[in-house]
């Protein structure tokens, strides 16, 4: 048995579902000091299905050593990556061989699945134990149904690069059908992903897009903003991951991969900045053909504005962005507590 978090006394017996169906907030806070009011994004899947790499890539973390194999640190607050302002990402190995983990998981089930906003379940497309995977998935769904029935469910069929190109669509369709069937009455959205092409970024962007409640309104406002300042393209990024929340373009752009590329470039730059104990705030790129501005926008978003008219001075665009910032923040606050996602 390894080390554990100083706060957790691991009162397994007490917190089992039979003992006390709903632990009091104070008890909860003792075990999980910081999650009282925070909503969770659960990233679950079999061990080795690629969750850690995925988290690393999307959130630009240094990749963590595989803590499950070391058996030791079992901490509910497994990973404190903040996401969309108020969400906390938790990574869980589901269906591992480790009986210790199994027990802990079962006994902590309610805590784990409480307050869940999003469940992202990762399936390894190469897995040889399809039955088992589906079984674990279903038990997670049961727990969700009990504890957070409003949660959104996403299934990622991962490591698709290992499948032959001509078979990918077929295999994915098969899995999608199975998963939809198994998930009833809950609705799940399926994506096929691989870290070696743009599908991972697209899947997470779609997930984020669905998590933003007023996204249509946001897009409309973004379009107005872009047209007013005569921009070629305006992108809205989520702050932690640089996933594109919404975008507006006034004409066809050549490169379909540009969102992921920009995201990767900026995340890499952020890593470099952090080495110098600084943090990235804004960037302006300019040449004779265009000018691009990347800047903090609202408390949880970044904006990127691309102007192809180089005669417009930077100062003008920056003032425009600053003014728009106020408007968009008001927009977020106006939508009230229901849309707490974009608020601090």
């Amino acid at each position: 048995q390894g080390k554990s978090s100083p706060d957790a006394a691991l009162p397994r017996a007490e917190l089992g579902p039979s003992a006390s169906p709903r632990p009091s907030p104070r008890q909860l806070r003792r075990v999980m000091p910081n999650t009282a009011m925070k909503k969770k994004v659960l990233l679950m899947g079999k061990s080795g299905s690629g969750k850690t790499s995925m988290r690393s890539i999307i959130f630009a973390n240094y990749i963590a050593r595989d803590t499950r194999r070391l058996g030791a640190t079992i901490d509910v607050e497994h990973s404190h990556v903040r996401f969309l302002g108020n969400l906390v990402l938790n990574l869980w190995d589901c269906g591992g061989q480790d009986t210790f983990m199994e027990n802990y998981f079962t006994s902590q089930r309610d805590n784990i699945f409480r307050n869940v906003e999003v469940l992202i379940y990762v399936f390894d497309v190469e897995s040889r134990e399809l039955e088992k995977d589906m079984h674990y998935y279903q038990s997670c769904l049961e727990a969700i149904l009990q504890n957070s029935p409003d949660a959104k469910i996403f299934c990622l069929v991962h490591k698709m690069d290992l499948v032959q190109e001509d078979q990918r669509d077929l295999i994915f369709k098969e899995r999608e059908e199975d998963l939809r069937r198994l998930s009833r009455p809950l609705e799940c959205a399926c994506f096929r992903t691989s870290i070696w092409d743009e599908t991972l970024y697209k899947a997470w962007s779609s997930i984020v897009y669905q998590l933003i409640p007023n996204v249509q309104q946001l897009e409309m406002n973004l379009r107005n903003f872009a047209q007013i300042i005569e921009a070629d393209e305006v992108l809205l990024f989520e702050r932690a991951t640089f996933l594109v929340i919404s975008h507006y373009q006034c004409k066809e752009q050549r490169d379909v991969h540009r969102f992921e590329k920009i995201s990767n470039i900026i995340k890499q730059f952020k890593l470099s900045c952090s080495k110098l104990a600084t943090s990235f705030q804004s960037m302006e790129v300019r040449n004779s053909n265009f000018a691009a501005f990347i800047d903090i926008f609202t408390s949880n978003t970044y904006v990127m504005v691309v102007m192809s008219d180089p005669s417009i001075p930077s100062a003008a665009t920056l003032i425009n962005i600053r003014n728009a910032r106020k408007h968009f923040e008001k927009l977020e606050r106006v939508d009230g507590p229901k849309h707490r996602l974009l608020m601090r």
């Binding site: 080390k3 978090s5 910081n34 850690t52 790499s53 690393s56 890539i57 959130f59 630009a60 973390n61 240094y62 990749i63 963590a64 050593r65 803590t67 070391l70 030791a72 640190t73 901490d75 607050e77 990973s79 404190h80 990556v81 690069d161 290992l162 870290i195 070696w196 092409d197 743009e198 050549r254 490169d255 379909v256 991969h257 540009r258 992921e260 590329k261 990767n264 470039i265 995340k267 890499q268 890593l271 470099s272 952090s274 080495k275 104990a277 943090s279």
Partner: protein, 561 residues
Amino acid sequence: MANMDSDSRHLLIPEGDHEINPGPMNIQFDSSDIRSKRPFYIEPTNIVSVNDVIQRVSDHASAMNKRIHYYSRLTAPADRALIAPDHVVPAPEECYVYSPLGSAYKLQCYTEGYGKNTSLVTIFMIWNTMLGTSILSIPWGIKQAGFTTGMCVIMLMGLLTLYCCYRVVKSRSMISSVDTTTWEYPDVCRYYFGSFGQWSSLLFSLVSLIGAMIVYWVLMSNFLFNTGKFIFNFIHHINDTDSIPSTNDSNPVICPSARSGGHPDNSSVIFYASNSELQQFEKWWNKSKTVPFYLIGLLLPLLNFKSPSFFSKFNILGTVSVLYLIFLVTWKAIRLGFHLEFHWFMPTEFFVPEIRFQFPQLTGVLTLAFFIHNCIITLLKNNKNQENNVRDLSIAYMLVTLTYLYIGVLVFASFPSPPLSKDCIEQNFLDNFPSSDILSFIARIFLLFQMMTVYPLLGYLARVQLLGHVFGDVYPSIFHVLIFNLFIVGAGVIMACFYPNIGGIIRYSGAACGLAFVFIYPSLIYIISLHQEDRLTWPKLIFHAFIIILGLANLIVQFFM
């Protein structure tokens, strides 16, 4: 680096993280996974517009590049999780080196400074790549040049091509403004001469490849014919005493071209009119009329393979063949003894003069025999101690020269001259042994198999270079490839039928492709780079201009011989 990374983790995860210390903080890791260090290789299909000024990479490749770049910042060097697997980024092992008449094989490419080969391995690889079927023509070349002249020419050509090779190796270091670590010699030519340099180096390397493939076809027909004849005679217990003059002892040597009105093609005529089965065999198994065509069925399918990596596994056959040839020649020399007489200028009935004016034929053959200038940079890149490059190159050249001298001199000297004239030495010295000779039968089998495995490789290299540059795609469609292969095979068949003189083919193609890679480009590039650095002196200019003139003369005089 890991220290700062743990700092960065704190910044990104303010709530604190109970993750374990990430392990060795050693930057100078010895990654057992060399894939973590390989450069991202963009296949030519991804270069969408190629002009001299700007080369644009396709969006897909550029996105992949950025992805790999970014992922490499996320992991520790020893961590394998985010290293691009082989099916995502093509492995750098798709790098082939070849010498036109020697071997061709795949090479492990390391970035500069990570070469793992000891000097011995490098020397062996250079020796192995250079040495090939041109050995078979060296005795004939010595005969054409005269014994003394021949030996001197071999040594001088060795020195000259060594110097030019040294110039090739040093050519990259004279370019200071651009990063040349991944450059091969055609890239250097393109740097100095623009697209003319690129296209001309492509053209000349194609000349060398296609010339080599034609020689291979002729030789393969020859060996297949002799093998078939041996097997047929062996099965039917026929003793092959024909009208071809030969020596009358246990080690027969024949003189195939010395019959009245000798045909240039080596069809052997056997007078066994009574034996109709033999006649049938002779009709269907003819060196210049039928066997070249049988080869088509064997080799044309092999040429259409997309990737010949299967054939590069047989590279060892080349070394075995050469060693066997050395053994064969030694054995025959011991058996036959030496027959040398020195007549300086006048030919006699059995001997040739020591100094003949047909020695340019030998220089033509030697240009191709000492040719490795197209891939020497890649071969030396893998040398562990780069400062020993010149020394290792010189040693390799010396060994090659010695091998050629050994075989050429022994065959020439041991050729039984009292009954036969030295003039009888064939362009392929194995032709001087009858098809019933066991030892040469084994040699022919070895060489036949070796050539059958190198032939598809050479075809692949020629196809990659030509189709890659003309169409931008190394495999545009099966039709393009088929037409290309038919052209090459057709050229081989025509030569095998009408002009199976490998000495002639070797010297023409050797002088032609050597003109560019051996003589003109290295010297010219050296002169230009010296001139750019204002270090050009008159002696250097004259010396290198002389080399260029030698190269031109080498080519021109081939047509007058």
